[in-house]
Symmetry: C2
Subunit: 244 residues, 2 copies
């Protein structure tokens, strides 16, 4: 499994992903699930992936190769005129990779993957998409300002309640860390280190990219502090009394 | 889907279940998922069910009929000498019902169900079991003091962090309501009213049995208050600062 969140804010975009991959409980490894492309002053693109690692690496490889082989650059995500078109291209590539594996006779579902794509191209606003294994996609909106992929349930309640589109990046990363911590505490298939990247709208350059390790003192503080904060929040609620 | 939690406390047992059942989004109804049997001074038994409603009602029907037809009372859960034996009987009945539906040719999984069984029989301590569709079961322990069935993920983080085995029933019901509220807010297939029952160890009589409706002012207070409490808990956490 995996846990990734892409979030739209008034000030831009923020992305966070874990790095644990597993093929069974006895076969875990660390793999980067966040991929970024940047042409300063022209475009920034972030892609996060959840699902079959062979599928997602193949998709990223195809997208990357296209950006690297100048002779065959026509479908390159570094040349597409819009994020919408990039989403379509990623979706098509994803669908093709999944189908090419289907031939092996194994179940299609086993090769599935879901992706979050976000970024900005000069002349258009920042955009954020959720791309399905079928190759189609939906876009974030004010009503639906963030996307989660992978093991989404444990970390959703806090996002739903504390998301604030006017928040700073610092605050949003704090929120995401709380959501990741709840997930990591409940599901072995999601684990540190955690990657993040911020993007301020209209700068056409990535903001801060970082990796949070197990040993990170701030992460420890959030993880331990959140248990205490939850308990005191819970204590604040009025007590239940039995009827009569 | 469904959401039920059975919890072991120092002072006894507490059970809570939602009542929404659905066969697709356009076919929802209310059904009781909590079933209780009581022989004052001798035994109390609570059974909560998640999964295929035909299966679970059939299991409860079989168990109930056995308690009602005096001529064939040998396997009755009202006569079993121990909770362990009742768990075995419920498990066997569940497995049989699932198997009898298998013959229809549909997928076995579609008829599956999971159950939480708890109670006390005179002379033994209170016990709590989680029963699988395969008919086998596990028992709650100090390390694993509560069981969830149905849509368990959204409501788990708060249980993990705020469970306290020394808590009062009032406090435990408050905790369960927060967990249920997080689940109800995130998943349409879990809904009010909510049933609960408490049992104080060694009384061999149920404590309070109640149903919490949509309009319940305390539920509203917890639901709204928890959003605020979470936000203020979140604000208490130290702020993230970018490295450098």
């Amino acid at each position: 499994m995996t846990y990734c969140v892409g979030m739209r804010l008034d000030r831009g975009l923020v992305f966070m992903s874990d790095t644990r991959t597993n093929a069974g409980l006895d076969n875990i490894a660390t793999a980067r699930k966040m991929h970024t492309w940047e042409v300063p002053g022209d475009r920034v693109i972030t892609l996060m992936t959840a699902g079959n690692l062979a599928t997602t690496q193949s998709v990223v490889g195809i997208l990357d190769e296209r950006t690297k082989a100048p002779v065959d650059r026509a479908p390159s995500i570094l040349q597409s005129p819009s994020m919408f078109q990039i989403a379509r291209e990623v979706g098509t590539t994803l669908k093709e990779v999944i189908h090419s594996n289907d031939d092996s006779g194994a179940e299609a579902a086993a090769f599935g993957a879901t992706m979050i794509l976000g970024g900005q191209i000069k002349g258009s606003p920042p955009r954020l998409f959720l791309i399905y294994p079928e190759g189609n996609f939906i876009e974030a909106s004010d009503d639906n300002p963030f996307f989660q992929i992978g093991e989404t349930k444990y970390g959703k309640p806090i996002l739903v309640r504390a998301y604030d589109k006017t928040a700073s990046f610092e605050n949003s990363i704090k929120l995401l860390l709380v959501s990741f911590d709840s997930t990591i505490k409940s599901n072995l298939s999601v684990g540190l280190p955690i990657d993040y990247v911020t993007y301020t709208a209209d700068t056409l350059r990535f903001g801060v990219q970082g990796r949070i390790l197990d040993s990170d003192p701030y992460y420890q503080e959030v993880s331990n502090g959140w248990s205490e904060a939850l308990k005191s929040a819970f204590a604040q609620l009025p007590d239940f009394t039995f009827p009569e």
